[in-house]
């Protein structure tokens, strides 16, 4: 029944196009099949309690089963000592956000590990310079720890700027630098004066908090760059893209979409980023924020200082992608822009929807587990999975906050386990409990999925195919299909808790 309704919806949107497309998708949001899971509710509760005993003390509020537990899912708490958290540190948060600025020097001030592990850590494709793909470190030694690393930093900056001529330099301060008290900021100031390029201290000592705190520090660093140049040509219909990192060319897709709508992307922050574009970002009419976890802070700062409004969007999945384009068009109150947006969405959907059909048929009723960085990504994933007939049974994030989780909860089905800052023990328990067929996460979750004998889709570092936009949706469906329906699972004897 549900299925037929959806199909008729599709037929409608192909024929009549226009705003109906949107209402169709809005309906799709809420018309979620809730059957199946409820019948087993009691069993679930019992099982939950059994597993509950094994949760780490102090994590009770970070795990919620929708439709079973009444408490709210709390995010933003520091990780418990002794847990095998999937989260990274403050430094990592700053590093991944600033990393895609391709014509800047990124110098990690600390011992070698921090730089080594973030060398070319993910795609972050550039259409021009690729200085960001080299990993620079002051490679501190014991002697430097004892006598201070400031002089070394100063010398390193001079040498590297002379050699590579970057447009700006970011200096990342690591745990140890915070402890020995190198005055990174004063060194940066001095070099900035001498070399006449912005040299920005990113005070990202790992122990300060979690990855999310690192995002904020990166935003502050970006904010200090913004407004320091006015030389670019700016169209009245200009936007900044905040929070896309061009891991696999997503930004270039977006650029194409917006170009078709007659909109200029002034500064992509930070995917395929350039220092000059960031410096000019204050002159855009609108900030379009994706991955709100990392970039909302910058958007707020820019609104405060430059009066630039912002909207939150996601480019993942058909509905969110289309919404993103419509929202931008709506903002400019220009009919021709809106018409072009509709035209674009219609064009894309005419080819995409039929292309998705075979995948949807094959995947109908399969169950997915999601554990990703931020809550917005999780929300988009839930919706995208629904579009290809799949149900989300676990939705977790490393860095979501309580507010994000409230939103996530409204979108998830009953019985879906929601979890904040999880660990391998919990995740594997949940997968077993729910009988998921697919896990969506990062490299650290991959072996959990594979060991449990279920499919996996990388949504982070090691991804080489874009998942954003319409092409991305097809890529996603294809990848999910390829992993979930692979014949290799026949060799895995799964003690799955089938419903």
């Amino acid at each position: 029944m549900q299925k037929r309704f959806r199909l008729s919806g599709l037929a409608l949107c192909e024929k009549e196009q226009r705003v109906r497309i949107k209402t169709f998708f809005l309906r799709l949001h809420i018309s979620v099949p809730l059957r199946g899971f409820r019948g087993n509710k009691r069993g679930k509760v019992l099982q939950n309690n059994k597993v509950m005993a094994e949760y780490l003390e102090g994590r009770e509020n970070q795990i919620v089963t929708k439709g079973v537990d009444s408490h709210e899912l709390v995010g933003g708490k520091p990780s418990v000592a002794g847990s095998v958290s999937q989260r990274a540190c403050v430094f990592c948060g700053s590093r991944v956000v600033l990393y895609p600025i391709a014509d800047a020097l990124h110098l990690v001030h600390g011992p070698i590990g921090c730089a080594s592990y973030t060398w070319d850590i993910r795609g972050a494709l550039s259409s021009g310079p690729e200085l960001h793909r080299s990993s620079f470190s002051t490679d501190l030694r014991e002697k430097n720890i004892v006598f201070g690393g400031q002089d070394k930093l100063y010398q390193a900056l001079h040498e590297l700027i002379d050699k590579h001529h970057p447009k700006a330099a970011f200096v990342y301060s690591t745990c140890i630098v915070g402890v020995i008290g190198d005055d990174v900021q004063s060194v940066c100031k001095r070099v900035q004066k001498e070399k006449n390029i912005p040299v920005i201290a990113v005070m990202a000592e790992g122990f300060q908090g979690s990855k999310k705190d690192g995002y904020k520090i990166a935003c502050d660093a970006l904010f200090s760059l913004i407004g320091t140049d006015e030389s670019m040509e700016v169209s009245p219909l200009s936007i900044n893209i905040l929070g896309d990192f061009n891991l696999a060319g997503e930004l270039w897709m977006l650029e194409e979409y917006y170009k078709k709508m007659g909109i200029q992307i002034l500064a992509p922050i930070t995917g395929d980023g350039r220092v000059k574009k960031v410096q000019n970002a204050h002159r855009a009419a609108l900030n379009v924020v994706q991955c709100s976890g990392s970039m909302i802070h910058l958007a707020k700062l820019m609104k405060e200082k430059y009066g630039i409004p912002f909207i939150k969007v996601s480019y993942f999945g058909i509905e969110d992608m289309s919404d993103a384009l419509y929202e931008v068009a709506k903002f400019f109150k220009d009919d021709s822009v809106m018409d072009k947006a509709r035209e674009l969405v219609k064009d894309q959907l005419t080819t995409l929807i039929p292309a998705l059909e075979p995948y949807k048929r094959a995947l109908q009723g399969k169950k997915a587990a999601i554990y990703v960085g931020g809550a917005f990504k999780a929300i988009s994933l839930v919706k995208a999975l629904r579009l290809i007939g799949m149900k989300t049974v676990i939705a977790g994030t490393q860095t979501g906050n309580t507010e994000d989780y409230r939103l996530l909860k409204t979108i998830c089905d009953d019985g879906c386990i929601m979890v904040d800052d999880s660990n391998p023990v919990e995740l594997s328990e949940f997968v077993k409990q729910t009988g998921a067929d697919l896990f969506i996460g990062g490299v650290k979750e991959r072996p959990i999925a594979y060991k449990l004998g279920i499919g996996f889709c990388d949504h982070n570092h090691e991804r080489k195919l874009a998942l954003a936009g319409y092409d991305g949706m097809l890529n996603f469906a294809k990848e999910v299909y390829e992993t979930v329906t692979s014949p290799v699972w026949q060799f895995v004897s799964r003690t799955k808790n089938k419903e």
């Binding site: 430094f91 990993s135 915070g178 991959r446 449990l452």
Partner: protein, 476 residues
């Protein structure tokens, strides 16, 4: 002459004048310690420091071994950094015990906890004292691994030493078993070494044995701690071994980038057992190539008083035959060899014995012993124009390579970008291999492993030639 001088300048670790490195050819010490610790049975490693260290290292190891790698962290906060990690340590251990029920908790320090002066040995002592009534209280092992000291290789050997030092106890007469400290090798090679020693009918304590823990089967249900590993009891009796065999000439004996207070006093596990329990120590290199494998097999033969089993004599014979079949394809080729120092020595010895010129031998490690060891091990096969680089980064390697014009790179996958840029083939071996499947099954040790490596090198060169040929030969 001038050219040689300029190359030399690039290679010399410039000591005090060195300000920054680009694209390091090494990882930090705790990473090595975690690999070694995974070779213990029933272990959960914990890093005493901030959260990122454990997460990064896990990610790095998972991408190489493609297995779950659980490493806990004491998750330092700013407060912990100021007031000390006592509380986090205790909570951490509590939580690990609740969640994982491990037999061993192996703790490695990080630069953060070392610098604020955490006394982990005391923390362990106090925890054990206050929890002595707890049934199944895990054994705790501590390795001091600040990341500004040495590389992942030193961290690995430090952890091996720490485990042996903590556990080895003399409680009886000398047994009939030997210890085999197998260095940082692939799980497949660990299995092969065990097979060889078993074929000599020598009971063996191989450590660290991560051949199962980092290369497991598919599971029916998820295991928090994977099966396999060297047991605590085995390590306890390492003090009563008949002999220790240690693979690698350099291990953690280096000084240039070591801790100043440790200079010249560092011991390997084998040296420790020899010093404290009089366990005779036999040291050979990693058995790659015929000459180095011969040393290893002869050592086992003299320890056991048995002939080298026919199986291996046949393997050796087939390898010689293979060398002859393939020698023309590799003869006089100029290779760049890089990775951990002991691996570089073994690969260079192998390259030299098949007629490949190791024009550059580079390592991120800084023992100060690489050049001397190479000369000694390669002996009459030593290539006089060989450039030896310690404390090398990939950037400096690339600069040197631009002048040396090599035909081939042999080393881990991080050098791929140089191979791509210079359009030369690369044979991936060592750690890490992030861009290919099967790093855990890389088999290069013994006559059998050498055979695979030799074929890989020849076929890589042939593939390169075929790809670049306008003709498309069907016989090469």
């Amino acid at each position: 002459m001038q050219k040689a001088e300029s190359i030399k300048q690039k290679v010399m670790p410039s000591g005090d004048t060195f300000a920054s490195s680009c694209n390091a050819c090494k990882q930090c010490t705790p990473l090595g310690a975690c690999i070694a610790f995974k070779g213990l049975e029933g272990v959960l490693p914990m890093l005493h420091g901030s959260q990122g260290c454990a997460t990064y290292i896990r990610r790095y190891l998972i991408s190489h071994f493609r297995e779950p790698v659980d490493i806990a962290s004491s998750n330092f906060s700013e407060e912990t950094t100021i007031f000390g990690g006592n509380k986090n340590f205790n909570t951490g251990i509590d939580n690990i015990i609740t969640q994982y029920h491990p037999r061993v908790i192996a703790i490695a320090s990080t630069c953060l906890s070392e610098t604020i002066g955490e006394d982990v040995q005391r923390l362990i002592f106090e925890y054990q004292k206050t929890h002595n009534a707890m049934p199944d209280l895990p054994v705790m092992i501590f390795a001091s691994t600040p990341s500004y000291q040495g590389t992942h290789s030193e961290g690995f050997h430090e952890a091996v030493f720490a485990a042996v030092k903590t556990l080895a106890e003399s409680s009886g007469p000398v047994g009939d078993h030997i210890n085999l400290f197998s260095n940082m090798i692939s799980p497949e090679d660990i299995r092969h070494l065990k097979e060889i020693v078993e074929d000599f009918s020598i009971p063996v304590v191989l450590f660290p044995d991560y051949s199962d823990t980092l290369d497991n089967t598919s599971w029916d249900s998820y295991r928090r701690i994977p099966d396999g590993g060297t047991t605590v009891d085995e390590l306890k009796k390492s003090a009563q071994a008949y002999a220790s065999v240690e693979l690698g000439y350099i291990l953690n004996s280096g000084g240039m980038n070591g801790r100043i207070k440790d200079n010249g006093t560092k011991q390997s596990a084998g040296e420790f057992l020899k010093g404290k329990f009089d366990v005779p120590l036999v040291r050979t290199g990693l058995p790659i190539g015929i000459l180095e494998s011969d040393k290893f097999f002869e050592a086992l033969s003299s320890i056991s008083g048995k002939e080298i089993p026919m199986k291996y004599q046949r393997q050796r014979g087939r390898l010689v035959d293979l060398y002859i079949d393939g020698h023309k394809y590799v003869s006089d080729k100029r290779a760049v060899i890089y990775g951990e120092e002991d691996l570089v020595v073994a690969l260079a010895a192998f390259a030299a014995e098949i007629g490949i010129k190791p024009v550059l031998c580079a390592s991120g490690g800084e023992s100060g012993k690489l050049a001397g060891t190479l000369r000694e091990v390669l002996g009459s096969n030593y290539y006089e124009d060989m450039v030896v680089g310690q404390g090398m980064s990939f950037e400096r390697m690339e600069e040197v390579m631009q002048e040396l014009k090599p035909d081939l790179m042999i080393g881990n996958s991080k050098g791929y970008y140089i191979a791509r840029k210079m359009d030369i083939p690369i044979v991936r071996t060592g750690f890490p291999i992030h861009d290919r499947l099967g790093a855990q099954h890389a088999h290069v040790l013994g006559y059998e492993g050498t055979m695979i490596l030799f074929e890989q090198i020849v076929n890589t060169l042939l593939d390169d030639k075929q790809r670049k040929s306008p003709i498309g030969y069907k016989y090469m």
